[in-house]
Symmetry: C2
Subunit: 300 residues, 2 copies
């Protein structure tokens, strides 16, 4: 019997298959009960009818819990009303483990609680969607630079130097001396650009900033392209092309995930080059007209 | 006038173009001199004929040095004897900077010397080839897992726990406590596999091993896939498919680079599944027959 993933069910309509996964939800209407199975690729409604399975399989309804791990056997049927368009007419179920109570319920939990259960929280729909979109952003970013002749030159994480000032660096003992965690691969990319013309790195970056807010991360991934013989206008062209490519890719490949997150995609659909460009002086003017005390010459 | 890269010259045969790059080599035969231009995408022979350029351009032959940065203008001509199949009939040269003596010559240098000039060493043919192959190995690895339904779940670098014992960890101050640099994303991937079925991470990993040999790295990139519901045979299937995909990709996309490194590719061409498989017991027997004092039950 073929073992399949939920996302590939359209290939095995009317066939008997097995699926490995976890119980997402259970609902009974007497002589029939429904199990929503989760396998990481999608959700599937599995229909268990009393007269179609062994008594011990039918009785599982009372012992199965959310996130219990199971292998389900059955016939794939088209069912337009079911999520994904298919359902499974169950012939048997093999239980691998009955899970203890899954601590995350649809009710609101605090951030602390959720972060302490991050390994389980990852199984929920929204966290799934976020990770999948992140994956596609990473993929689209790399594809863009790969397709445009940039060479990947990963910068080291352990460095002897600070790029943007030493106060925000994590320091560690490195055998008989000390080293820092990188804040940016920029210095290495600048040397790389002179060797390869166009280069990029994409790896973790660290900032030991004291401010622990939702907008200050101590560790994050950053993509850093560097080009030789590139002027400011060309640089802006690259930035526009890159950003719009990633947005377009995600709109096309993360439709379901953006729906799960209830995103209004109309704003994303507008991300098409050319973007408006203004001079530094105009930007300073706008800030000052809006009452910002801005020192001319500073960074925005 | 179009600005082009050396690798795209075939698109602009007989056209007048400009190229940005660095002087790789100079050679004179009196009323003609040749400059090999390097732009990161390839090498191009540029032909400077006394009667075809202004006198100050012709005289550049005496002031240009290796790795000086220039923009070269000229007509692209087919030339089967030239590297890359094209040469440039130079009409003009703009010098951006005359480089000081390039310290790396074809003679043998010590590792210390080369590592201290790593930013310049990167410009040489072999280092180029190594970085480009590394790029394609990374790309092929990510493509393989992306194409087979693995979700990218990057594991954090800063961790509170040790995966494989605490003696080899780099420790750092993390605000009012301490943290470690990760040795493996495995624990996070195991949680991820239960959420997504198949996951991978691919990032830097750290080992504070005392042995500083060529075979002991303190920092390296590691790809770590994890699958739920996968038995040992299926795991080996994935490993075979992955390794052979990466090798095949590199054979197809790094032909020139493998030639530069003078690799005998016949060994790589043999990397085709299925690979021979032996049991743990057979492997132990082989070791012992070869005089290795191996403790049954240990790791290989």
């Amino acid at each position: 019997m073929t073992s399949v993933n939920i996302k590939d069910l359209y290939k095995v309509e009317n066939k008997e298959v097995s699926l490995n996964g976890w119980v997402y939800n259970l609902r009974s209407i007497g002589k029939i009960w429904f199990m929503i199975l989760r396998d990481g690729t999608g959700l599937l409604q599995c229909v268990v009818v009393k007269k179609e399975v062994e008594p011990d399989v039918f009785q599982l309804e009372s012992s199965l819990t959310q996130e219990s791990s199971v292998t389900v056997f059955g016939i794939v049927r088209k069912e337009p009303r079911a999520p994904g368009g298919y359902e499974l007419g169950v012939t048997s179920i093999r239980v691998h483990q009955i899970a203890k109570e899954y601590p995350i319920s649809p009710k609101e939990h605090g951030t602390d609680f959720l972060m302490n259960h991050r390994h389980l929280w990852l199984r929920s729909k929204k966290q799934h969607a976020i990770i999948r979109i992140r994956h596609q952003v990473v993929k689209a970013s790399r594809d863009f630079f790969d397709q445009h002749g940039f060479t990947l030159v990963d910068s080291p994480i352990l460095t002897a130097n600070a790029v943007e000032g030493t106060t925000d660096l994590f320091e560690l003992g490195y055998f008989d001396r000390s080293a820092f965690l990188t804040q940016s691969g920029q210095l290495y990319q600048e040397a790389g650009a002179m060797a390869f013309g166009k280069v990029y790195c994409f790896g973790p970056t660290f900032r030991a900033e004291k401010s622990k807010t939702r907008r200050h991360l101590t560790e994050f991934w950053m993509i850093e392209p560097e080009m030789a013989y590139c002027n400011l206008d060309q640089d802006m062209d690259w930035a526009e092309k890159y950003v719009s490519y990633v947005v377009k890719w995600c709109l096309e490949h993360c439709k379901t995930e953006l729906e799960t997150l209830e995103r209004d995609t109309s704003t994303l659909e507008k991300v098409i080059p050319p973007f408006p460009r203004i001079t530094y002086d105009d930007a300073v003017d706008i800030l000052r007209k809006n009452g910002v005390d801005f020192q001319y010459g500073g960074d925005f």
